[in-house]
């Protein structure tokens, strides 16, 4: 019965993808209108948290089939179109990304799609720099963060639109550092029905890039899967599935270290954070079940256009052009 209901929802989403996109945009636009003309008494206190829950739920649905983390969608869209201050949105964004990573982490580790050995060296550096990013983000004026966020989101749009993926990159020989750290493993590819041995190279460059990625994650309160996966897959040569799984696991350490900073500073508001976390997790559960029903390329294009809109909005908001 549940399966039937989900298939029904899937069919609806498939035929109404444009309507959902419009609903997300209109939800965002109405939130923006409320932001532009503050009218605190016009809406009961629960209005925006409810809108936030619905928005996070819809973002959760599209996040999985489009292959991006919920955090990267959440911060620019909620930060650009809801009345919450960007500090609270970034605090919530980190918790959204952390909760999603924690929900997936255990099964990824048990199934061998995430590698503890591969993740640990990268996560140590990235979580240390995420602390620095969070501290910088909370120390500089919000409009500067908005401008940088807008620029970064537009960069992500470009990356999403152009980046290639390699299911099994060829690594002729591991480099000396990855050999010393034994950053290799075996994962079971269910599609092929066989165990695949993997190893990585260009470890030093990978470590340097993870230092930057962690900083950005802390600065903007976004999960960093959009950057982790290309570095692990295209640069270091880990298989795509191991890259995606390990990326998600790395976020459990990176986002938690940055989230502690936001929490200690008082930038985690329950009324903003909890509806977002629950909405995103429920949406992601539906999204994962709809993977076989929805056309991933269509959802991906929809998400890219939504991010483009949110990135431009963040940039213009930060520059004071579209406040």
């Amino acid at each position: 019965m549940l399966g039937k209901a989900i298939r029904g929802i899937g069919g609806f989403l498939k035929t109404h993808a444009v309507v959902i996109w419009l609903a997300l945009s209109m939800g965002a636009a109405s939130a923006y209108a409320a932001d532009a003309i503050p009218a605190p008494s016009a809406m009961p206190w629960w209005g925006f948290p409810l809108a936030l829950f619905v928005t996070s739920f819809l973002l959760g649905i599209v996040a999985v089939p489009s292959g991006v983390g919920g955090g990267v969608l959440f911060v620019p869209i909620v930060g650009g179109f809801f009345p919450f201050h960007l500090d609270f949105v970034r605090g919530a964004g980190l918790l959204v990304a952390l909760a999603s990573a924690l929900a997936a982490g255990p099964s990824l580790l048990r199934g061998g799609l995430a590698s503890l050995r591969l993740a640990l060296p990268l996560a140590v550096l990235a979580s240390a720099s995420a602390i620095a990013g969070a501290m910088v983000g909370l120390a500089i004026p919000a409009n500067i963060v908005q401008i940088a966020l807008g620029g970064t989101i537009l960069g992500i749009v470009l990356l999403m639109a152009t980046a290639k993926k390699s299911e099994f990159p060829e690594v002729a020989a591991p480099d000396s550092l990855s050999s010393a750290l034994a950053m290799n493993g075996i994962f079971h590819d269910a599609a092929r029905g066989q165990n695949i041995n993997w190893q990585v190279h260009r470890t030093k460059t990978g470590l340097a890039l993870f230092l930057c990625i962690g900083f950005l994650a802390g600065l903007f309160g976004m999960g960093a899967g959009w950057a982790n996966v290309p570095v692990l897959n295209l640069l270091m040569g880990a298989p795509l599935k191991v890259s995606a799984g390990t990326s998600s696991f790395i976020l459990t350490l990176v986002d938690s270290s940055a989230a502690w900073i936001y929490m200690n500073k008082g930038a985690v508001l329950a009324i903003v954070t909890v509806p977002s976390v629950i909405g995103m997790m429920l949406g992601a559960t539906i999204g994962a079940r709809l993977l076989h029903v929805l056309k991933a390329s269509v959802v991906r294009k929809m998400v890219i256009s939504l991010l483009l809109f949110a990135g431009v909005r963040a940039l213009l908001k930060g520059l004071g052009i579209w406040v």
Partner: protein, 138 residues
């Protein structure tokens, strides 16, 4: 047929098990405390009907107006509905610590000094972030 997990190291399986427990516990406490907060079962430090005028303020202004403590001082207000939500959030943020601690003995027994050091370093980074020492503001 049971899935073959022989290629997955025991420390990775232990890490996964403890992460599952920690994240589920944190999420359950978070949802329960949030429901108690929004349904008014526990009085809030900042009343819900005032939040709409406060959540758009810059962080420091919000903290000043609401007299909300920073660092670990929130523990003294953990009996308030809104602040109580931080318990679940702290468990979610801290759930990796016990997992990292649990894998150190395995690496140590194997003589894998580099990974023992990496785990200790990862724990130190998490503890530094959690400590509240690193206080900054706009």
């Amino acid at each position: 047929m049971e899935k073959d997990t022989s290629h997955i190291s025991p420390e990775q399986q232990r890490y996964a098990f403890l992460l599952l427990i920690g994240s589920r516990l944190g999420l359950a406490i978070l949802v329960a405390s949030f429901l108690a907060y929004v349904f008014g079962l526990i009085p809030a430090h900042v009343p819900l009907d005032q939040m709409a005028q406060l959540w758009s303020l810059p962080l420091n202004e919000y903290l000043q107006k609401t007299n909300t403590p920073t660092g670990w001082h929130w523990l003294s207000l953990a009996n308030k509905g809104d602040i109580a939500n931080l318990i679940g959030i702290a468990i979610l943020c801290g759930s990796s610590l016990i997992c990292l601690l649990s894998v150190i003995p395995t690496y140590a027994r194997r003589g894998d000094k580099v990974y023992v050091a990496l785990c200790i370093l990862a724990i130190a980074v998490q503890l530094l972030a959690a400590s509240g020492i690193l206080s900054v503001g706009h």
